[in-house]
């Protein structure tokens, strides 16, 4: 029975292969298991634990779902949660050494800290900008000699405005956007992102227009720097490892995974303390004397998500936004099923979260 349980729940890591990777917990796979989906069972097993949340980074565990759902969340985070980003740049003057296109591309990648939920998507065919769909910025910088110092060699001292930062961008509220000043913070995320470097008497005079978009269209709209997940590793020691062997074993895993505990007779024995930290390098299988005593596994329905936001929205907000989008998709799918199939033969196929 336990073997079957392992087949159902674990991924096996061996020296050369990764076995048992497919999920099998759907009805009819195993005799004696009720794998049918029910709300109650799901609510019982499903859980989300936020492991850490700080500024732009978040790590959380999602337990009790199929990989398809977890991956959907990841994909939506990357590609479908909207943000604001610079879409068009009108260049009135650019005498810097950076090329117009490259400058525009760099500006496009600056994360604009404006809550995208306050704005609309711009209509595909509309050229004009409205207060609902556009944020406008002005970037006008000129580098000049700092007359106070004469013998400096550091260009930062020798010149004023030698480096152009995003803080030099100035928000130009469109008519009807005055209320946004008090409502949200329209400052830029990374106050010190450098977009260009100027030499003596070089000048930039640009007008920037931000619109709302999604990462599918261009990666600059993606709200996350990275969003990925991994499965929870499990390490089982099948025999005891003492002293030198234990130390050797400890070195095979990431720091903190294996601890050496002193036994009553003064020997050190290896003990798995935190399998979660392991990178699953499978380094242990390179040692013939160790590999027989270790079983490496991963829990198939335990996803360790790590989300790194660009700073526009907090990562937890991003995840909940992503889940909302997933719900919206499901509802749309159900709706289409209803319309397509009519009332007859409705099947319970939808996924509710």
């Amino acid at each position: 029975m336990s073997h079957l349980e392992e087949l159902r729940r674990k991924v096996n890591l061996t020296e050369y292969t990764i076995d048992n990777v497919n999920s099998t917990d759907f009805p009819g796979t195993y005799n004696g298991y009720d794998d049918s989906w029910s709300q109650g069972k799901f609510e019982e097993t499903f859980q989300i634990d936020i492991v850490s949340l700080s500024g732009c980074d978040m790590e959380f565990d999602m337990v009790g779902v199929d990989a398809a759902i977890a991956n959907a969340v990841r994909r939506i985070l990357l590609a479908e949660v909207p943000t604001m980003a610079i879409e068009t740049v009108s260049i009135w003057n650019n005498t810097s050494i950076i090329q117009d296109e490259v400058l525009a591309h760099r500006l496009g990648l600056i994360p604009i800290k404006a809550d995208p939920r306050l704005f609309e998507y711009r209509q595909k065919d509309s050229e004009e900008q409205t207060s609902e769909d556009t944020i406008q910025f002005k970037l006008k910088v000129k580098c000049s000699r700092n007359t106070l110092v004469s013998d400096a060699t550091d260009p930062d001292v020798l010149y004023k405005n030698h480096k152009v930062y995003t803080r030099d961008m100035e928000w130009v509220p469109l008519p009807g956007q005055e209320h946004l000043v008090s409502k949200i913070d329209l400052t830029l995320v990374k106050g010190l992102s450098r977009s260009a470097e100027l030499g003596d008497e070089m000048e930039l005079d640009l007008e920037l227009h931000c619109v709302k978009g999604i990462g599918k269209d261009h990666a600059k709209f993606s709200p996350v720097a990275t969003a990925s997940y991994r499965l929870l590793p499990e390490i089982r020691l099948l025999r005891r490892f003492y002293d030198d062997e234990a130390e050797k074993l400890q070195k095979c895993f990431s720091p903190g995974v294996i601890d050496l505990v002193e036994t009553s007779d003064g020997r050190k024995v290896a003990k798995v303390v935190n399998a979660r930290l392991d990178t699953c390098s499978r380094n242990v299988f390179r040692h013939d004397d160790l590999k027989d005593g270790v079983l490496l596994q991963k829990v198939r329905d335990h996803f360790i998500f790590s989300v790194e936001s660009t700073g526009i929205l907090a990562p937890d907000v991003l995840v909940s936004e992503a889940i909302k989008i997933l719900i919206g998709k499901c509802q749309k799918f159900l709706q289409e099923l209803d319309e397509g199939a009519g009332d007859k033969g409705r099947q319970k196929k939808g996924k509710r979260t």
Binding site: R74, Q99, P111, A225, R230
Partner: protein, 932 residues
């Protein structure tokens, strides 16, 4: 308490502890590169030419006489090559920088001036600084304005301090004279000919003549073969013609051994059969075989044959006062080599052996060309004098009026510009000697400077010259060679290779004589053949003999280490040949080694410390005799340890650093010893195609085609070579995270998938993976015509109703030239030029009839499906075009399907699919590329 065993054990360990090794001896390498540099061989060779060789050429051809007037003469007193300048209008010469030459399409050249003494009327005059032509100047040579400049001064001149130099700028194009590999001149080579006969050949090369002389054996007889003879000459007859009349003398010249007697007797028989007994008869016999006879000379048959023997046969052996003895001895030695080879006492020479090769560099090639041009120039002056002196004129004939600069200037410039090296004197007609410096990346430019071209035919299918010769160890890169037809024929120098320049023979000969070398003519025949006597050769000529071989070689080397003899003079004994060879000629490849004495390397830790504190430089190591240069031949007489731990009793030298076996391109590969060897070769070819940066002045250049990466990255994994050649400062490529997996359909034969817009902002990549900029040049010359008309540039045409420029002319500025920053699409106009309809003067309207010149539109339009942006417009002038417009067009491109990506290990792939970020495989980190 310690037991005795314990103490014993301690001492044992102490005793067994290795002698401190010289750590960081690789630091000698940057010191070496500082003084010698990667392209130093080109620059050294060119410096030698313009400072030394050119004066020798002048001295050899310093008089112009005329048949018309026996009193007339023109004598060159001195010759100089000046600093590069340009002749602007009104005859003002102005100093010029290389970058200005590139931009303005002019030649970076300096005037060649001479001091002359000549006769005008009846009076001799001296005139100084007469310009006879212009010499293209190699960048970073002694006469280049960039030499000795600091990085800041270079920046002021728009020049990249990392640029290696060593090339020429001819009509705005950067041209490299490739290193040419040749069989060494004036050396005997014993080899088998196509019929299997053993032959000994010598390619003689002197300033006047190049010729090849063969001695070969056929049916037991020895023959002398040369192009000038219609029939091969029995060797005994040749000996007789050279004054060795006695048969015994002939045999003894060849040798005292049994084999020599046996081999020579049929030859003597043949000589008798031909009824040749005396030298005079021999000369007449030879005269009858001469193919081309000189007409007009009234010399006797014997004299003419003697002339041929003196000047043509074995031309490099000097004949002083008609004393043919040295030449006869040389010829005898050639016969002897064949005899001994047949007897199995010595082996056949290997013509692929690198000690038998000489590398010809820019200096040597230019000196050949210059000498030819200079001779032609003097011939022209002579003709002018012959023609003009008999004429009676009001003014006296002044030769300086006829000294034009064009012939020499054009001769030099055309040869470098086209790469066709035509020297009639030597019947030399080589193509492809120069190539345009490849500016695909910094590495491609560097790689080109170290490239060696072989003179061998590419079409012939022989493996010998193509395969890697063991004697190339450490001197030529074992990995860097192209695939395909030029495989193994085009090679590259290793990191520490140095190519020698000519060193004066005189002092060396004197030292050799004082070391006990005796004149061969004074020795008896028995002594010459005795086993203790060694023949001493200096650059292929017999200097004499010595019976203290070992002592002489040791003392000679000690003198060299002490600095009394030039460091690049090599000496080595060949015990089977019973010869000592001293070489001081140019074009030998050599390399520095640490000298080992009594199992200890002379370079110690302290020396290296001094070096890193810059108390010492590489030259100091050389002067103090800690380090010396060995060429390929001398390497054979040395025992070289690769690592300090390998040193044994017999070791004489220690390798400075093992990785110097590789060249510039192979040096970029991280951990090359873990790769399969062809991968390193592939990488060497591919590293040159890498996109990135080409120099600090890349944005100031206007090249025909220039690829730059928007965000180049210095490699994370560096090799020492990378730092030495500053590749980390001018990098090509980006550090990508690569997932290796199979992905069906898109992974056939080296394909890879690439993530769409790999450019998240806070990611490891600042933005834009693989984003690149393409620059293209457009030129437009505004010409003047013979009938006083000229091209003009008109402003944009304006639409009648909207008063806006028509679509075609939208990018144009008011002056009719596209404005910088404008986007130009297909078929839009870049320069709105108009040309007069009538440009030939014959169709000019008659006098008094003022007619408006008619113009037709000849605009320069943009062609290309993708639009470009105007980066920069340059308006300038040069010698050919009075008014020149150059435009730099820019395109920004991102990676697309079909683009080639590669690692640094010869693993290339073509992008087969671009997938969005969310579809890419991921781990905890994120990847950019998927390799098959």
């Amino acid at each position: 308490m310690e037991s005795i065993e314990d103490i014993m054990k301690l001492d044992k360990e102490k005793l067994a502890a290795p002698i401190k090794t010289i750590e960081e001896k690789w630091r000698l390498l940057p010191a070496f590169l500082k003084t010698k540099g990667l392209v130093k061989q080109h620059i050294d060779s060119f410096n030698y030419f313009i400072n030394v060789e050119i004066k020798k050429i002048m001295k050899a051809n310093d008089k112009v006489l005329s048949d018309a007037d026996p009193n007339f003469y023109l004598k060159y007193l001195n010759i100089y090559v000046g600093m590069p300048n340009v002749q602007e209008s009104l005859g003002i010469a102005q100093s010029i920088s290389p970058h200005e030459c590139r931009l303005r399409d002019i030649t970076y050249s300096a005037p060649i001036t001479v001091d002359i003494e000549f006769v005008r009327g009846k009076q001799p005059y001296i005139k100084k600084n007469v310009e006879i032509g212009r010499m293209p100047i190699m960048l970073r040579s002694s006469n280049c304005i960039l030499t000795g400049k600091t990085a800041a001064e270079m920046a002021h001149l728009n020049e990249c301090p990392m640029d290696p130099g060593g090339y020429f700028i001819v009509r705005g194009a950067e041209k490299v004279i490739l290193i040419q590999e040749q069989l060494s001149k004036n050396r005997m080579i014993v080899d088998k000919d196509s019929k299997g006969n053993i032959e000994c050949s010598v390619t003689s090369s002197t300033h006047e003549r190049k010729s090849k002389t063969y001695v070969y054996q056929k049916k037991g007889n020895f023959y002398l073969k040369h192009n000038i003879f219609s029939e091969d000459i029995p060797v005994a007859i040749a000996f007789k013609a050279m004054g060795v009349a006695c048969d015994q003398d002939i045999i003894q010249l060849v040798g005292n051994e049994e084999e020599a007697f046996d081999a020579m007797s049929p030859c003597l028989e043949e000589c008798h059969r031909a009824q040749v007994f005396t030298p005079l008869q021999a000369l007449e016999f030879i005269f009858s075989k001469i193919r081309q006879r000189m007409y007009g000379t009234k010399k006797s048959k014997a004299d003419e044959a003697r002339d041929v023997l003196k000047n043509v046969i074995l031309a490099h052996v000097p004949v002083v006062d008609w004393n043919f003895k040295p030449k006869a001895i040389y010829l005898a030695l050639m016969v002897r080599r064949i005899v001994l080879t047949q007897a199995g006492k010595i082996k056949l020479d290997d013509s692929d052996y690198y000690g038998n090769k000489r590398l010809e560099l820019a200096g040597q090639l230019l000196s050949l060309l210059f000498e030819d041009l200079f001779k032609l120039y003097n011939l022209d002056l002579m003709k002018v004098a012959d023609k003009n002196i008999p004429k009676v004129r009001a003014t006296e004939f002044d030769i300086t009026k006829f000294m034009r600069t064009d012939p020499i200037t054009f001769g030099l410039v055309n040869a470098i510009a086209t790469g066709n090296w035509t020297i009639k004197r030597f019947k030399m007609d080589r193509g492809g000697v120069t190539q345009v410096l490849s500016r695909l990346s910094y590495i491609s430019a560097l790689g080109m400077m170290t490239r060696i071209n072989s003179q061998f035919e590419k079409t012939r299918k022989v493996s010998g010259p193509r395969s890697l010769q063991p004697s190339q160890w450490g001197l030529l890169c074992p990995s860097d060679t192209p695939e395909g037809e030029a495989c193994g024929l085009v090679k590259n120098l290793a990191l520490m290779t140095h190519i020698t320049v000519d060193v004066d023979e005189g002092p060396i000969a004197r030292i050799a004589v004082s070391l006990g070398v005796e004149d061969i003519e004074t020795l008896s025949r028995d002594e010459v053949s005795s086993p203790n006597f060694y023949t001493v050769f200096l650059n292929g000529n017999i200097l004499g003999m010595t019976n203290h071989c070992k002592r002489m070689v040791t003392i000679f080397r000690k003198l060299r280490r002490a600095g009394y003899i030039n460091a690049f003079v090599s000496i080595f004994p060949n015990h089977s040949h019973k010869c000592i060879y001293i070489a001081s000629d140019g074009g030998r490849v050599c390399r520095p080694y640490i000298i080992v004495n009594n199992k200890r390397p002379l370079v110690t830790k302290k020396h290296i410390e001094d070096l890193s504190r810059e108390f010492r430089c590489f030259e100091d190591f050389l002067h103090e005799g800690l380090v010396e240069y060995l060429d390929v031949n001398e390497e054979n007489d040395a025992m070289i340890a690769l690592y300090e731990s390998h040193i044994t009793e017999d070791t004489t030298h220690l390798e400075i650093e093992p990785f110097t076996i590789l060249g510039v391109c192979a040096g970029l590969i991280p951990y090359p010893h873990h790769n399969q060897s062809p991968r390193n070769t592939y990488q060497c070819a591919m590293g040159k195609q890498a996109m990135g940066t080409i120099g600090y002045n890349q944005r100031n250049r206007i090249d025909t085609l220039l690829y730059l990466l928007a965000y180049p990255q210095a490699p994370l994994v560096k090799s020492k070579t990378i730092e030495l050649i500053h590749f980390d400062k001018l990098p090509a490529g980006q550090n990508a995270t690569v997932a290796v997996m199979s992905y069906s359909g898109y992974d056939i034969e080296d394909a890879l998938c690439c993530r769409e817009s790999c450019n998240s902002f806070i990611c490891l990549f600042p933005a834009g993976f693989g984003r690149c900029l393409v620059y293209r040049k457009q030129t437009c010359a505004v010409k003047r015509y013979a009938n006083q008309t000229f091209d003009r540039i008109m402003g944009p045409k304006v639409d009648r109703e909207t008063f806006k420029p028509i679509w075609k002319h939208q990018p144009l500025d008011h002056d009719g030239i596209a404005a910088p920053g404008m986007r130009i699409e297909n078929r839009q106009v870049m320069v709105n030029k108009e040309m007069p309809t009538i440009t030939s003067p014959s169709l000019q309207p008659q006098m008094g009839q003022i007619k408006q010149t008619e113009y037709k539109e000849t605009p320069v339009t943009y062609k290309g499906s993708e639009p470009s942006y105007v980066e920069r417009v340059l308006i300038t002038s040069n010698q050919e075009e009075s008014f020149l417009v150059k435009m730099l067009m820019r395109q920004t491109r991102r990676p697309e399907v079909g683009d080639k990506f590669s690692s640094r290990h010869g693993q290339k792939g073509v992008c087969g699919l671009i997938v969005p970020q969310e579809d890419m495989p991921f781990t905890d980190l994120v990847s950019n590329l998927v390799h098959k």
